[in-house]
């Protein structure tokens, strides 16, 4: 059995991507920076929480949007806003409370869900996510009748309506920290234990590991990351409603993770960027074919992209890229199977490989 997820992006590749991303506002206009890049960054954080669980823990969770929603709703209700509860906290304590609540909810969900695995885990977490959506739909004192709008933002973001660049940089830094932290975690004792639990739960239990506890903690950690995504999302949208945490969004985050690559962390942002680009530009170039296809049929297009990716490459775009590279590299090296030992940057040539 080949470990699915052990290759890691190397430091030089990370540095190159980070520098390119930091230079983006100089190249692109405000609209692109905001609607494509900032959105892709926070969607990527949400997808990363899913991919982290799938890649290192072997748990494909559909509960991340529920946790994201708990964090977003908490922030929205605590700060000054139109709708929701009348509390008017400073944004930073609200962020802390939001992350804390998402993590605690994650511990609770995780404690229940971690005892199942595989497809059961997927279904149970899906049920959690949808129940969170129904909860906020029902409790209008928390979600407002038309959502919670005009959220107060921390000063560091400036005034995004006029200049979205500061918000882009904040989101970029947070996304980078999340990526590097999750990447580094795979080498810690906890991360290695988690990967052991993923591959050989019975053997790990025999070795004295508490498998359920490991899974639960991993889930809580992913919930913390999902909470970060929730805060970033309400910073981005300045509003939240039950409609932004419904099943459609649960599936969108899954689609992003799968398009990017379910077993590689960087796939989260590759998928998110692809999603944001399709989301924005498909409306312009997709031909109108009666009722079946057209500018209003975005979900059909993204569904088709998702279907094609799942059918041809379960490893997503990262998987397609790797198989192309392996084929080229394999020819150069005269065969062999370099699939599990080398790694590369997302869009450069072969980077120095990390052996896991």
């Amino acid at each position: 059995v080949t470990p699915p997820s052990t290759a890691r992006l190397s430091w030089p590749a990370i540095a190159v991507v980070a520098i390119l991303a930091a230079l983006a506002p100089l190249v692109f206009d405000d609209f692109f920076v905001n609607v494509i890049l900032t959105k892709a960054l926070w969607l990527g954080v949400a997808a990363a929480s899913l991919i982290f669980l799938a890649a290192y823990g072997g748990m494909v969770s559909l509960g991340q949007v529920g946790l994201l929603g708990i964090a977003g709703m908490t922030y929205a209700n605590l700060v000054l806003a139109d709708g929701g509860s009348p509390a008017a906290w400073n944004p930073w304590p609200a962020v802390v409370a939001a992350l804390l609540l998402a993590t605690v909810a994650g511990l609770g969900f995780g404690w229940i869900a971690a005892r199942s695995e595989g497809i059961y885990f997927l279904m149970i977490t899906l049920a959690f996510s949808v129940l969170v959506f129904y909860f906020f739909s029902q409790v209008t004192s928390l979600s407002g009748f038309g959502g919670v709008n005009n959220l107060d933002l921390p000063g560091i973001l400036g005034n995004p309506e006029q200049d979205p660049v500061p918000r882009y940089y904040v989101t970029l830094v947070v996304a980078l920290v999340v990526f590097i932290a999750l990447r580094g975690l795979s080498r810690t004792a906890f991360g290695l234990g988690l990967q052991g639990v993923r591959d050989e739960p019975a053997r790990m239990r025999a070795l004295g590991f508490d498998v359920t506890l490991h899974r639960t903690l991993a889930f809580a950690l992913a919930a913390f990351v999902a909470g970060i995504a929730g805060v970033l999302s309400v910073w981005y949208n300045r509003r939240i409603s039950p409609g932004s945490i419904n099943l459609e969004w649960t599936i969108n985050i899954l689609i992003i993770a799968v398009i990017g690559g379910l077993y590689r962390l960087e796939g989260a942002w590759i998928g998110a960027l692809t999603y944001a680009l399709i989301d924005n530009y498909s409306r312009k170039w997709v031909p109108e074919v009666g009722n079946v296809l057209g500018s209003a049929r975005f979900n059909t297009i993204i569904g088709l992209v998702f279907l094609i990716i799942v059918l041809i490459s379960p490893g997503g775009l990262v998987g397609i890229w790797e198989s192309i590279r392996d084929r080229l590299g394999g020819r150069r090296r005269g065969g062999g199977s370099p699939t599990t030992t080398t790694t590369t940057g997302p869009e450069g040539g072969p980077a120095p490989g990390t052996v896991n």
Partner: protein
């Protein structure tokens, strides 16, 4: 198919389906213990019994308060459960035999309803005079055939759509349960969007035959909807009985039961598993379509109902245990009654907590999973 990608994801799925891993990790020693030693009073069991007693006493108090209301609320719950059972039994049948979690089950439900509605409107709608009715199309009257024929045709159509789905998309990656789930999710996204384009976003419903009474009078001067109380409940009982007979008495049922326990052995014995799988998918999808027509007549058809019924089916089978018909019945009954009671009885004095009724459903799910991670009747795969 690139080798590297295939082997990595295939390996993951193999692990998930590994029977020994499931036994040792899924149960955490609790499930076998609860099943085996029934008389031991652990603190956990005492706590659960206490909760159950409180709930029962609470309901008795409410029933004594207003018996008529209690009867109606209970009937509401039971009929809702009947609809849940029809839909979820198809879901659990497909999962039990093939380990396919059909995430498009809710889409098939809604599509079944919409197909029947379209047939009813285009085949059986009679031009009554000038069509100047101010209250819209709801005045149209339909005979018995105007309901039955769309029911039969739509149900069969959904059955065949299900088989087509299975043959085209799922057959060749049998055993990769995660990938199959992702494929059906992709299909459900596409189907939902296409239904929105074709049928619009306004809530619609299928008209019951106008010759049927709207309600029946029960003992104790209780009036209850005829369609809900008689047709839906009757259909669910009939379907339950037929499925039970099919599974217990027919050769197909024997193969299905054997397949649930050991698929590989069944195919090693020379049985055409592909044909059996297609048959199971046909029946499973058919039940979703049938449920869609019942639900479209009993409640309504609207975008979002597909999600709602996917969630209902998920909860029903998670509670009851995946792949178990009896579990689906118990799970549906639990979910229907909890939904129904929580919508009405969560009022304590001046505080109205009915807004929070979804939390009770959630508590039901968590409560069952905490004791039985594989559901009440679930067995390790």
């Amino acid at each position: 198919m690139p080798d590297t990608v295939d082997s990595s994801s295939g390996g993951d799925v193999q692990r998930a389906g590994d029977a020994t891993a499931r036994v040792t990790t899924g149960g955490v020693l609790e499930a076998p213990e609860v099943a085996g030693v029934r008389t031991r009073w652990t603190p956990q069991r005492i706590a659960y019994t206490a909760v159950a007693v409180v709930v029962v006493v609470f309901l008795i108090v409410k029933a004594a308060d207003d018996l008529r209301q209690f009867v109606i609320v209970t009937l509401n719950g039971v009929t809702l459960a009947a609809l849940y059972f029809v839909v979820a039994s198809g879901f659990t049948l497909i999962f039990g035999l093939m380990r396919v979690v059909n995430m498009a089950h809710g889409s098939l439900y809604l599509l079944g309803g919409y197909l029947a509605l379209r047939m009813q409107e285009s085949w059986f709608k009679e031009d009554t005079g000038l069509g100047l009715s101010l209250s819209g199309a709801t005045d149209a009257e339909y005979g018995l055939m105007g309901w039955l024929i769309p029911l039969v045709v739509a149900t069969l159509a959904i059955g065949f759509i299900g088989v087509g789905m299975q043959q085209v998309f799922l057959r060749w990656n049998q055993g990769q349960d995660l990938r199959q789930a992702l494929i059906t999710i992709a299909l459900s996204v596409i189907i939902a969007d296409q239904m929105l384009a074709e049928f619009g976003g306004i809530s619609k419903d299928i008209a019951a035959p106008s010759s049927w009474p709207t309600s029946v009078l029960l003992p104790g001067d209780v009036r209850f909807g005829f369609f809900r109380g008689v047709v839906v409940l009757g259909s669910a009982l009939l379907i339950g009985l037929l499925l039970w007979l099919m599974i217990k008495r027919t050769r197909f049922g024997k193969i299905v039961r054997a397949g649930v326990d050991d698929r590989d052995m069944v195919s090693a014995l020379g049985i055409n598993v592909n044909l059996v799988f297609a048959g199971a998918f046909f029946i499973g999808a058919l039940l979703a379509g049938f449920g869609g027509v019942l639900g479209g007549t009993m409640i309504s058809l609207a975008p979002g109902q597909d999600t709602a019924f996917l969630l209902n089916s998920l909860i029903v089978v998670i509670i009851g245990g995946m792949g178990s018909l009896g579990g689906a019945a118990i799970g549906a009954l639990a979910l229907g009654l909890v939904d129904s009671y929580a919508d009405v009885y969560l009022i304590f004095g001046d505080t109205d907590l009915t807004n929070y009724s979804i939390l009770v459903t959630f508590a039901l799910l968590v409560g069952v999973l905490a004791v039985r991670p594989l559901g009440l009747f679930g067995r390790p795969a």
